[in-house]
């Protein structure tokens, strides 16, 4: 994998920000897009900007075909069937769809980890009003604790909804083990794969997941485009929580006949350009190779982890070995506000990182860290040179401000 060659496909990396070469380390929030994705979406808008599944004219048929192909491409990417892929706006919508469609009732319980993104926390907190219990499995040294997990299980647990790779620490939970224990307990399993699908080879069958949700904007695709995978038989049983155009085969003044999945979950006119763009992103990632991307990120993470280890007062959040944190380095430096670190990196070196709670406020509040942390997150177009510049600049900032 040649990161330098890959960079040529990303127009934003060719420009300078405030006179400095952009170093983009905020990929866990939003990835950049290659020109292939932009071109695919432009092609839709310029050549066949019609709607799918309704009209029968040539343009509409073309959209139908491209939309169907996009679903097939995404399905193949995660080892699923096309009818198991529901296009959503993002991971959040996917999780909310499951939360609302499962029709959990009083006395049921949902189990999550203690390091969930708000997307996989708030929907379950809302269900609490309906009498649905929310159990949290606390990690040990920020890693999965099987004992705690087994203790949380029980007959009332209808769903285990875990983050797969944490956007805070980069730690990947052992999905297969979690799914096995949950299934043995008779519970369904959902994984928030927003940070795993873009960075490693994922096969839904190997994971053992009943549902997974992920977003396009974190995997070189367009924003406003996400995916919910659900096992076919489960999707057939579920009721959609959004109803409207293109979800029904027929309707009268009193009744309606729902279409089969995935159509019954995709109400209203869809984000066709988004789906086509996402498919282009998937093709791009496949061409580079997911295993190579994973290794590349791990290598960069090792360089950075080793490079910043000597900074006095620096603490990495999550498991200490870089290999366990994928492409994410979340850290705090004693005496420095993470926002200040991020602002200094941006204004003095054009390095874009994120600071704050990373939508995992619950964990930071529980750990008495109201300011959150600084977070550098890597992707396929980042290089070793960038990693070294980051290390150097971070050291410089620490020397200047402390």
């Amino acid at each position: 994998m040649d990161a330098k060659k890959i960079r040529e496909d990303f127009p934003v990396l060719q420009q300078k920000i405030k006179g400095k070469q952009l170093i983009y380390f905020d990929n866990a929030c939003m990835s950049l897009r290659p020109k292939q994705v932009i071109a695919a979406m432009n092609e839709y808008y310029e050549q066949y900007p019609a709607c799918a599944g309704r009209s029968i004219h040539t343009l509409s048929q073309k959209v139908d075909e491209e939309y169907r192909k996009a679903r097939e491409v995404v399905a193949k990417f995660i080892g699923a069937k096309p009818e198991e892929i529901i296009f959503t706006r993002n991971t959040t919508e996917g999780i909310n769809l499951v939360a609302h469609s499962l029709e959990l009732k009083e006395g049921d319980a949902v189990v999550t980890s203690d390091i969930e993104h708000n997307s996989n926390l708030l929907p379950w907190q809302m269900l609490f009003k309906r009498g649905v219990e929310h159990r949290i499995v606390f990690s040990k040294d920020m890693q999965f604790d099987e004992g705690n997990f087994r203790n949380a299980m029980g007959d009332s647990v209808k769903l285990v909804s875990f983050v797969h790779t944490s956007n805070l620490s980069g730690y990947t939970f052992p999905a297969e083990k979690i799914a096995k224990i949950a299934h043995d307990n008779g519970s369904l399993v959902m994984f928030d794969c927003a940070q795993s699908v873009p960075h490693k080879q994922i096969d839904v069958h190997k994971l053992g997941a009943d549902f997974i949700a992920f977003s396009g904007h974190k995997m070189l695709g367009p924003s406003g485009m996400g995916v919910l995978y659900g096992k076919k038989d489960l999707l057939e049983e579920l009721n959609p929580f959004l109803l409207g155009g293109d979800t029904v085969a027929n309707s009268t003044y009193e009744t309606h006949e729902l279409l089969k999945p995935p159509e019954k979950f995709e109400a209203g006119l869809q984000n066709y350009a988004g789906a086509i763009g996402l498919a282009a992103a998937v093709k791009y990632l496949e061409k580079v190779g997911m295993n190579d991307i994973e290794k590349h990120e791990e290598k960069l993470n090792e360089i950075i982890t080793y490079g910043i280890a000597g900074i006095n007062g620096l603490k990495i959040i999550g498991p200490q070995p870089a290999k366990l944190r994928g492409g994410i380095i979340s850290f705090n430096i004693e005496g420095l506000n993470p926002h200040d670190i991020a602002m200094m990196l941006d204004s003095t070196a054009g390095i874009a990182i994120r600071s704050g709670a990373h939508c995992v406020h619950s964990w930071f509040n529980a750990n008495n860290m109201p300011r959150g942390s600084a977070r550098a997150s890597l992707y396929l177009y980042n290089t070793e040179e960038e990693a070294k510049i980051f290390i150097g600049k971070l050291r410089e900032i620490c020397n200047t401000l402390r």
Partner: protein, 150 residues
């Protein structure tokens, strides 16, 4: 944070020319209002100001950047005191000019008066010229912006 008071005045003036500064002026107003009512600011405007200045200083004067970063509150108070000091002094100067026709009645040195004399006009005429010039520039700018938007 007291620095928001200066920010409010500066951004309000700059807000005449750009919506970007108007947004910042609104933030500064909110922060000033909360500071004056003894409540913490809801925005991080002061942090952004702090880091903007620190990062500018960091490249050339690292020691000064460190001092500014570490003692931002003290620097803020110094700036505010200087700001209000110069405001009061300006008001005093304008008062002297209007009442006595010179910036400083106790001495003969008054740059504004000397400038007026140099231009061969009365002090009042110079004020009128300056006001007209400022208003003209503002008018030209606003017309330019209006045409650009159109």
């Amino acid at each position: 944070m007291v620095i928001c008071i200066i920010a409010l005045v500066v951004f309000s003036i700059m807000g005449i020319f750009s919506a970007h500064w108007r947004e910042l002026a609104k933030e500064a107003f909110d922060c000033t209002f909360r500071t004056l009512t003894f409540r913490p600011c809801r925005t991080n405007l002061q942090d952004r100001i702090k880091m903007k200045v620190t990062s500018k200083l960091a490249g050339r004067f690292p020691s000064l950047a460190r001092a500014f970063y570490k003692h931002f509150k003290i620097f803020s108070w110094i700036f505010v005191i200087i700001f209000f000091g110069s405001m009061i002094y300006t008001a005093y100067t304008v008062y002297n000019l209007v009442v006595y026709g010179t910036c400083d009645p106790s001495s003969s040195t008054c740059t504004i008066k000397q400038t007026a004399q140099l231009l061969g006009c009365e002090l009042e005429t110079l004020f009128i010229y300056i006001t007209i010039a400022v208003l003209s520039i503002l008018l030209v700018y606003l017309v330019y912006k209006y045409l650009k938007i159109k």
